[in-house]
């Protein structure tokens, strides 16, 4: 469906994207996730044709659009929803949606279809500035979806919504997009958004694609500590591998196939839990209450600092000594 290989782009002497390649099947909802400035928006703009890659090729539906040729954005069949939405301020909702439909594709019925799909029918004659944030969001998606693009690109589409609205709009839109079986690439730096939406999660750091795969797989088995910490809280402790066993301050774990020598262990904060019959003892030095969950800072006897996260709100008393144990998977890095 869409295939990138060896894509690189630099601005001046500053490399923004280097050697990125991936392929997505039709109907996949992919998420490009990474910290701000990691090059994910630039990658998206190259797929849209708004930037021209320095190296590499992009093919959409089997047609080469970037590489030796450069197909301009207006003839690419790619939809793009901008972070600032970029609705046409002087056009009504219906006119915005109809803008990309020219002649052949049976304009007005398609507009009706889109208005219905995104529940915009009562708002058809409004101007963009008369809409709420969530409504504007839906118009932007309807406008990009109307010409039935081969790929729909979303550039941090929910970034400008306030927190409460954001979750609702996001769920609703993702549900609609999945129903229409559109191939989607969404860029975000919000971990919750990335993990919940992605069929295929692609993590980008410093212009390179570091890991991609199923959300759960990426979350539980990050390829390095950067990816691990980017997707959620965790603890890094030093360890030593000997005879296929890792020894560290948290105990002993199977080393998988890691060679002998020094290593780092990564344990998610929620995979450390309080337990009365544990062999490990830690002192509670601080805690934060978040409502739906809570976290605590712990100090082991040897001075190692750990963080713990638990779903229920009854935190251990600060200053007390508690028993802990590791309850989930442990990742081992070099």
């Amino acid at each position: 469906m869409i295939e990138l290989s060896g894509i690189a782009k630099s601005f001046g002497r500053h490399p923004a994207v280097s050697d990125v390649g991936f392929a997505l099947d039709k109907g996949v909802f992919a998420v490009l996730f990474g910290p701000s400035g990691c090059g994910k928006s630039t990658l998206l703009r190259m797929i849209a044709g708004l930037e021209r890659p320095d190296h590499g090729t992009i093919a959409i539906s089997g047609r080469l659009v970037s590489g030796d040729v450069h197909v301009p954005p207006e003839s690419r069949q790619v939809g793009l929803v901008f972070q600032d939405l970029a609705l046409f301020p002087n056009m009504t909702v219906a006119a915005n949606i109809a803008f990309g439909l020219r002649g052949a594709s049976g304009g007005s019925s398609r507009v009706e279809e889109m208005l219905k799909l995104l529940r915009l029918e009562p708002l058809r004659d409004r101007l963009p500035h008369e809409l709420s944030g969530g409504e504007q969001q839906r118009v932007a998606v309807a406008r990009s979806l109307a010409p039935d693009p081969d790929v729909l690109l979303l550039d941090e589409p929910f970034a400008n919504l306030d927190a409460e609205l954001r979750a609702r709009v996001r769920e609703e839109l993702i549900e609609i997009l999945k129903r229409t079986a559109t191939t989607v690439i969404m860029v975000t730096h919000d971990r919750e958004e990335a993990l919940s939406a992605a069929d295929e999660l692609m993590v980008m750091i410093d212009g390179t694609l570091v890991q991609s795969g199923d959300s759960r797989e990426v979350y539980e088995q990050p390829v390095n500590k950067e990816v691990g910490l980017l997707l959620g809280d965790g603890n890094l402790v030093e360890g030593l591998v000997r005879d296929e066993i890792v020894h560290c301050c948290l105990g002993e774990f199977p080393a998988m196939s890691h060679p002998d020598g020094a290593c780092e262990l990564f344990v998610r904060s929620e995979h450390i839990e309080c337990s009365t019959d544990a062999s490990l003892s830690a002192r509670v030095v601080g805690g934060d209450y978040y409502g739906h969950d809570a976290s605590a800072s712990l100090l082991l006897a040897d001075g190692t600092a750990l963080s713990l996260r638990q779903a229920h709100g009854d935190l251990p008393i600060i200053g007390s000594q508690i028993g802990i144990r590791v309850s989930g998977p442990v990742c081992i890095f070099d």
């Binding site: 630039t42 954005p73 790619v78 939809g79 972070q83 970029a86 803008f99």
Partner: protein, 529 residues
């Protein structure tokens, strides 16, 4: 952060070529002035001509006049801005609007009026007689300073009022909270924020006074501009006129540099967000403040209108309405319309280049097209006379060269609002349209034009007003025997035919009054939406 690192798009070649041609067109008169000045007797003679005899005296007088007018206008403007932004000024809205109105009276009309007012038989002719002053006492340096200040100060008032309105009160309040007196808090908390608008207002007025020709000529004040015109007109000393013009250009450059140095660092760029404006009251003195505003209105609007109407009434029998009013009016309207349309069309590619494809080259072209901003009409008119006589004599004193003169003079005026319009058009909207399959023409017509249209209209109005008021360029370049309203006023007043001058003068005031009103009303509307 991410948007800053976007690749710079290279401007399309046709656009670059068109813009360079416009820039060269605008620059050509000045270049030719240089050639003409150094041509006659070589470098040494030109230099000795500049520093010789009276040139230095005229230069100092011009600078002095500009300085006096600038300081007076800025002081007056600060006072008026404080009054009209105070919460308790009586008839505040009315005063706000009336304070801009003197702009509708061209300087030379103001000068003509005051010469007439103080002449025997004029509105205040009795004052002249009873004080035992000679009949022509209202002339020279101080009379020019008075007239210029009276009718040009709105150029400073507008930016200063806008600046005062944007002042953030928190530095002032912080200074008060830290134990400073009210005066010191204004000194440290308010003035730094106002500095930039005060300097640009003063600079605008100073440059205007430096290049003003009509009023100083009528008032017989021997500044550079008057001397240049006399050299050109009576002695036919063309090289002398070119050398003096060049010296004037040098003075202007000096003043611009001075302005740049005085402006220093700008403290105003806070993005306009989250600013809570300063509020104040006048208190006991508010009726006094109102009286001051009233006085100004009387001096700058009531007296001119009254005396113009009385002259008209007195001489209505002897005036030939066709050659005195109708023909010049038609000519003025035609020229203003043509200049307005052409200048706006020329400003579009320049504004497009500057906003969409910023680069060193486009910056240079942008600066080139602003050359008319500082140059007086007299200098541009003169250089175009030289260009025409040398290169295409057939063009000398044709409509074509006159309109070219207006383009050079007013292109900078039009670029401002057109550029602002282009800046409002979001770049992502354009990109969104591209991803939806729209070509450049459709994007221009459906998305860019609707957003830019108000800016284009504003630019057109500005050029229209300026063209209909313009005097020196018109005087030098208009075809022999044809007159516009402005040249008619000048000619009649110069010959002391006040009754005949009254009709075109009234027409001019009425025309620019209506247009200024439309312009201010439009800006109010734009500000609201």
């Amino acid at each position: 952060m991410q948007t800053n690192r976007r690749s710079r798009v290279q401007a399309p070649a046709p656009l670059l070529i068109v813009c360079s041609l416009i820039g060269l067109l605008v620059l050509s008169p000045l270049v030719y002035l240089f050639i003409r000045a150094f041509e006659g007797g070589g470098f040494a003679e030109t230099v000795s001509a500049i520093f010789g005899t009276d040139t230095l005296v005229y230069g100092l007088r011009s600078l002095g006049l500009a300085a006096v007018v600038a300081v007076a206008s800025v002081s007056l403007s600060i006072m008026l801005a404080c009054f009209t932004l105070a919460d308790d000024l009586p008839f505040r809205r009315l005063c706000t609007i009336l304070a801009v109105c003197p702009l509708a009276v061209p300087c030379y009309v103001g000068a003509a009026v005051y010469i007439g007012v103080f002449s025997p038989g004029g509105l205040l002719g009795g004052v002249t007689a009873s004080l035992g002053l000679s009949p022509g006492w209202f002339s020279g340096f101080w009379a020019s300073a008075f007239v210029l200040t009276m009718f040009v100060y709105p150029l400073a008032y507008l930016p200063i009022r806008a600046g005062l309105r944007r002042v953030d009160r928190s530095p002032y309040e912080a200074a008060r909270m830290l134990g400073r007196s009210r005066l010191m808090a204004i000194r440290f908390g308010v003035l730094p924020q106002l500095r930039s608008s005060i300097v640009s207002g003063g600079l605008l007025v100073g440059l205007y006074a430096l290049g003003e020709f009509g009023a100083v000529s009528l008032l017989r004040c021997n500044t550079f501009t008057r001397v240049i015109y006399i050299q050109y007109e009576s002695a036919f000393d063309r090289t002398g006129a070119a050398v003096s013009s060049l010296a004037l250009v040098g003075l202007i450059a000096l003043v611009l540099l001075l302005g740049r140095w005085m402006r220093g660092t700008s403290y105003q760029d806070r993005g306009g967000r989250g600013v809570s404006p300063l509020k104040w009251n006048i208190g006991h003195w508010r009726w006094g403040a109102f009286l001051v505003c009233l006085c100004l209105v009387v001096l700058a609007i009531v007296i001119p209108l009254l005396s113009l109407f009385s002259w008209w009434g007195r001489g209505s029998g002897s005036i030939d309405a066709s050659s005195g009013l109708v023909d010049p009016l038609v000519n003025s309207l035609f020229l203003a319309l043509m200049a307005g349309v052409i200048v706006v069309v020329l400003s579009i590619p320049i504004a497009l280049l500057a906003t969409r494809y910023p680069s060193r080259l486009s910056g240079m072209i942008d600066r080139m097209s602003h050359i008319g901003f500082g140059l007086p009409g007299l200098v541009i008119g003169l250089s175009l006379v030289f260009v025409a006589l040398r290169l295409v004599p057939a063009m000398y004193q044709s409509w074509f060269i006159l309109i070219l003169g207006y383009c050079v003079l007013f292109l900078a005026l039009a670029i401002g609002p057109v550029r602002a319009g282009f800046e409002q058009a979001s770049r992502t909207v354009d990109e969104a349209a591209r991803t939806l399959g729209a070509g450049w023409w459709r994007r221009f017509r459906c998305l860019l034009l609707p957003v830019v249209r108000p800016g284009l209209f504003g630019a057109f109005l500005l050029v229209f007003i300026s063209t209909s008021k313009e005097l020196p360029c018109t005087l030098l370049l208009s075809p022999a025997g044809t007159h516009t309203l402005s040249t008619r006023v000048w000619q009649y007043t110069d010959e002391a035919m006040y009754a005949e001058a009254s009709l075109p003068a009234l027409a001019l005031i009425f025309l620019s009054g209506v247009l200024v009103a439309i312009l201010t009303w439009r800006e109010e509307l734009l500000e609201k939406s």
